[in-house]
Amino acid sequence: MENNKNIALSVKDLKTYFYTNNRCNKAVNGVSFDIEKGKTLCVVGESGCGKSVTASTIMQLLPTLSRIEEGEITFYKDDEKINIEKLERNGQKMREIRGSDIAMIFQDPMTALNPVFTVGFQIAENLKYHTNMNKKEIREKTISLLDDMGIPLPEQRVDEYPHSYSGGMRQRAMIAMAMACNPKILIADEPTTALDVTIQAQIFELMDNLKKNYNTAIMLITHDMGVVAELADNVAVMYMGNIVESGTADDVLRRPTHPYTKALLDSVPVLGRGRNQDIQPIKGSTPDPYDRPVGCQFAPRCSFADNTCEVMPEITNISSSHDVRCHKYKEIFQY
């Protein structure tokens, strides 16, 4: 994926370590991916794999007791190349980028909005800080944003408080806030996990439209393979701080090559496959981050592991779009 014109953000060998309780937790330990304009990259993994930390790192929203150890985060803004990892966390340049060029929406819409300010005020804040619009223009833009995001009666809703919004509406309001300055990249951290299924469907439709209408690059973090199948153009599967497999949705879902990806797909009941589908749970559980296995992190739970797996595998290109990090993939998966 060397065509720079289509890439909005490029992450190379990113390592983010946490230093709480006087221990070193290598939450993200060498992660590389690209986010393409107008496409959705789904980062899939279970809890503890480091997907949320990756997002926080890109936004430079990490807690105090952590830092970016190594790696590059390159943001391709128009004709500029900005190295985010070099910027000061709360410096002016980073704050300019945050919210207007790269925006983020979070998992729990109940707590992501400030209960003591109106929704309109919170969206307007974003516009006030990043643009030169006057009060009237801001109000009009806010109302049109709420309308675009599918909130009925936006002229009324703009002056209401978050508690009078339902969960789905709050999520839409958050998306409106994030999209206010037309960001090049939208990072969505499990945006529908806390929502009902029928509301999820609405939000998916909304995000699909954002891609088409605004050419936004979307990085969607989730644990749900179903969401990946619905929305992803590209997929990156994470486990314990590394990307174990990445490629287009077609590559990863139809030709899963890493044992973890395959095991994950086999352990989830899929709608439409009936009562006799064969569900195989993955044996064992995710290791303690402070007591990690040597080499490949998935080896203790992998049915195909042997001595060679005591060395961390390098990334292999299976095809121009499909990468995998495994010693044994050639023996296991013949597609």
Binding site: V197, D224, L271, G272
Partner: protein, 338 residues
Amino acid sequence: MTDKNDIVLQLRDVEVHFPVKAGVFKRTVAHVKAVDGVDVDIYRGEVLGLAGESGCGKTTLGKAILRLVEPTKGEVSYISPEKDMTELTSLSKKEMDPFRKKLQIVFQDPHSSLNPAFTIFGSLEEPLKKYGVKSRNERRKIIGDLLEAVNMRREYMDRYPHEFSGGQRQRIGIARALCIGPEIIVCDEAVSALDVSIQAQVLQLLMKLRKERNLTYLFITHDLSVTEYLCDRIAVMYLGRIVELCRSEDLYQNTLHPYSEALISAIPVADLDKKTKRIVLEGDVPSPVNPPSGCPFHPRCPKAQDICKSKVPPLKKYTTNGNEHYASCHLIDLPEVN
């Protein structure tokens, strides 16, 4: 196959209404109609799924069966293997005790389901003490056996909850539900808070235990992919009522109610070959305080007609594929069965 005449739990017209109090004098101004008239028979040995979104009342119904929440109307009756029927809702707290042995519950949140101040042994021995296991050694033996039954080591009983992962805590919760030998277990979103790969482990465990101990499950969930795999029959709830109740296969292949249709189509499917056209419903999941007139689903229903706005559709019985199939919708074009 379960014997249709072997009913273990019978619910008739169960309602759970919570009063909304306002004003200085705390007068009741409205009711949250969490459960608004539920009739269902649960057969011995079956896995009955109870599915729906937030606010539909499924968790409240599960708790009402155990009387953790008191039904404001209606009867919940237990029928013993000898066919003695007891109306649980009319019993006093003391009289409920022998029936509490038969009905148990597994909760959703592994982080609050165990008392952090007690060891596993301390938490699990309490019900054993109450129901007659007098000697400490015997209690230790029973708890050890229970832990092994849920694929954990006996020694774990002397550890504290914070030393275990979410999946392990959930298994301990299952061990607790089993400790006095119940017949029926209400699983209230028992796997929803777990990681995807752990969910499969716990589901397999639940199935194994069901076979070994001849249990009946009421499986409450919002995840219709899991119910298709796990359940014999499924009841879909919306705003406090059951809108469809049928065999699991029939729900997915012969869906009768528009809400069930929309619910199933909204589920993201992890299979690129199975992407179907999604029915996207308008509007939000309504609040149970002010349910709409007539059919509670009509404001969001893509097929709503005039009759739907004025008349509440009763739960009628039909037949699909030779099986019983209940649904409450005015627009169903099948002959009603008695």
